[in-house]
């Protein structure tokens, strides 16, 4: 056999065929996109171009350009009062995706359990398994898609190593207030567990201030803080993110990173520097726009009787299609074929979420409006008999 047992055991995403169907169709209004519909702000793109003109085409240090690490360090200090040393506690990664993979590979011993509130982003489970760990899913459906300290406590045992938090959450948009995070932190500290906190959507929190997990008192030493530029600065294709954490963990992660990745593209790193230095205004503008779309789409979905919890952040709504009597894949396929509107079936984010679809509102208002009209038609034509 050519393929390793471990990889062969990995489940390919069950909705791959659906994705191929969407990609093969033309003139689809897609609410299935997991990235901003804005282009990277011009001054950031320009900084990338300029760096190429100036001949910055080499490797950087493994940890990433010092200038970028310093800028990140200053930014976190100014914005959240969060202090990370640019020399030892920050690593530049190929998006949060790499940071996440490194985190797991760095901390997991065979058989360690990793807690994952679900629904969750697609890579958490498979990457945990690849790293030799056991993903333990905590279904948050009945708690408004939020992990509660009580639920968390129930799942912890001797083999538990860490909790993965992602807030605002992809696919539900749900986030946590400082108080709610405090409750989770208490449990983690009590059991001496690590928190891998994926806060890529942190800047896109609409109704309250985002609280990085590491800012909670006593949490920093046990937190791996993951963030990046993809979502807030509309830089998905640049592939640049960063990890902050205790220096022993960062040093260990850097060992893997130096052999697998070497370093992130220097062009992207230079553009990311510019983003942090001058991009705040663009972020705020985009955030206001997403917030308006959120109100618009939630109102529309409610009118269609597709129940959803109003998201606190990111640009997703996880809507219930239970009343239609269709399972999510069926719903998504029919909606695509009959009305040319694409959404992501809920099961992509966990087996239990057959009654849900993820709708992305990172799309123009005209698109959202048209999509809602088409969905209305769709629901009329597919009324439950």
């Amino acid at each position: 056999m050519l393929i390793s047992k471990k990889v062969e055991k990995m489940q390919p995403s069950g909705i791959r065929a659906f994705f191929d169907l969407v990609l093969g169709m033309k003139e689809v209004i897609s609410l299935g996109v997991g990235e901003p519909d804005f282009v990277t702000p011009w001054q950031i793109r320009e900084a990338g171009i300029y760096s190429l003109e100036e001949g910055f085409t080499s490797y950087t240090s493994n940890k990433g350009l010092y200038k970028l690490r310093l800028t990140i360090s200053r930014y976190l200090k100014n914005r959240y009062g969060l202090e990370y040393c640019p020399d030892e506690e920050i690593l530049i990664t190929v998006g949060v995706s790499e940071g996440f993979d490194l985190s797991l590979r760095t901390i997991i011993n065979p058989g360690d359990k990793i807690l994952i509130p679900s629904p969750s982003y697609v890579s958490y489970g498979p990457l945990t398994e690849l790293a030799g760990g056991i993903p333990i899913y905590i279904d948050t459906q009945d708690e408004g898609f939020k992990l509660t300290p009580k639920a968390l406590e129930k799942y912890i045992d001797k083999k538990t190593k860490a909790l993965i938090l992602n807030y605002p959450t992809n696919p539900t948009g749900v986030s946590y207030t400082k108080r709610e995070l405090g409750g989770i932190k208490q449990v983690l500290l009590k059991h001496k567990l690590l928190c891998i906190s994926d806060e890529i959507y942190g800047d896109l929190t609409y109704d309250f201030e985002h609280t990085p997990f590491a800012t909670l008192s006593g949490a920093k030493e046990n937190t791996i803080y993951l963030n990046g530029f993809s979502k807030s600065y509309a830089m998905t294709g640049w592939r640049v993110g960063f990890v902050c954490g205790p220096k022993e963990i960062i040093a260990a992660m850097t060992k893997i990173h130096q052999y697998t990745i070497m370093c992130v593209s220097i062009t992207s790193q230079m553009a990311a520097c510019e983003a942090l230095q001058t991009g705040r205004k663009s972020v705020e503008e985009m955030k206001r726009e997403y917030k308006r779309r959120r109100e618009f789409i939630c109102e529309g979905l409610n009118k269609l009787d597709l129940e959803c919890i109003k998201p606190d952040g990111a640009f997703y709504v996880f809507a219930s299609i239970k009343k239609t009597g269709l399972d999510c894949l069926n719903f998504a396929q029919k909606l695509l074929k009959e009305q040319k509107v694409a959404v992501v079936p809920g099961t992509a984010f966990g087996r239990e979420f057959n009654d849900y679809i993820r709708i992305s509102y990172a799309s123009s208002l005209d698109n959202l409006k048209e999509a809602l009209l088409r969905m209305e038609d769709f629901l009329k034509n597919n009324r439950r008999r």
């Binding site: 689809v28 982003y121 697609v122 308006r292 109102e299 694409a342 992509a348 208002l365 409006k369």
Partner: protein, 161 residues
């Protein structure tokens, strides 16, 4: 700036109903706010941004930027002279500026001849106009924040996590 204005500045056709949904307010309140802005002159008018390069016959296919030096008048300064100048329908924009000249005009006409004639016969002979320098526009790239290009195709892949 009020978010209502931010929305309308980008899309003058956004309806009160949609704006209300976006801002989670009552349509009635939005309508009233817009009416108030219109009354106060904050919102002056609604218009379409047209790419005239794509239209064959138009009365404004030639545009010129004109620097004008004028003599200010007692009591009213530049305003009175400016008014005499901007009242010509050929003048589409008129600004008082600092620097080596006083007024900057944008003048439109259907051809070079029309614009030149306006300058020679109407503008230059005005009593308080000391001199003019005309720059004919060769190509428009961006106007009022709008890049004059065909809509770009969507570069995102249609579905992703």
């Amino acid at each position: 700036m009020d978010e209502i204005l931010e929305i309308l500045e980008k899309n003058g056709r956004a309806g009160a109903e949609d704006i209300a949904k976006m801002l989670k307010k009552k349509p009635k309140d939005i309508k009233e706010a817009i009416k108030k802005y219109e009354k106060e002159g904050v919102i002056l008018k609604y218009k379409a941004v047209i790419n005239k390069d794509l239209i064959k016959d138009t009365d404004s296919s030639v545009r010129a930027l004109i620097e004008v030096n004028i003599t200010p008048q007692k009591d009213v300064g530049f305003d009175k002279v400016a008014e005499r100048i901007y009242s010509f329908p050929e003048v589409s924009s008129c600004y008082l500026v600092s620097g080596t000249y006083d007024l900057l005009l944008i003048v439109e006409g259907k051809d070079l001849h029309t614009v030149s004639r306006f300058i020679a016969e109407k503008l230059a002979p005005l009593e308080n106009v000391k001199g003019t320098i005309t720059h004919f526009l060769l190509k428009k790239y961006k106007e009022d924040g709008v890049i004059l290009k065909h809509k770009e195709e969507n570069k995102r892949i249609a579905i992703s996590y």
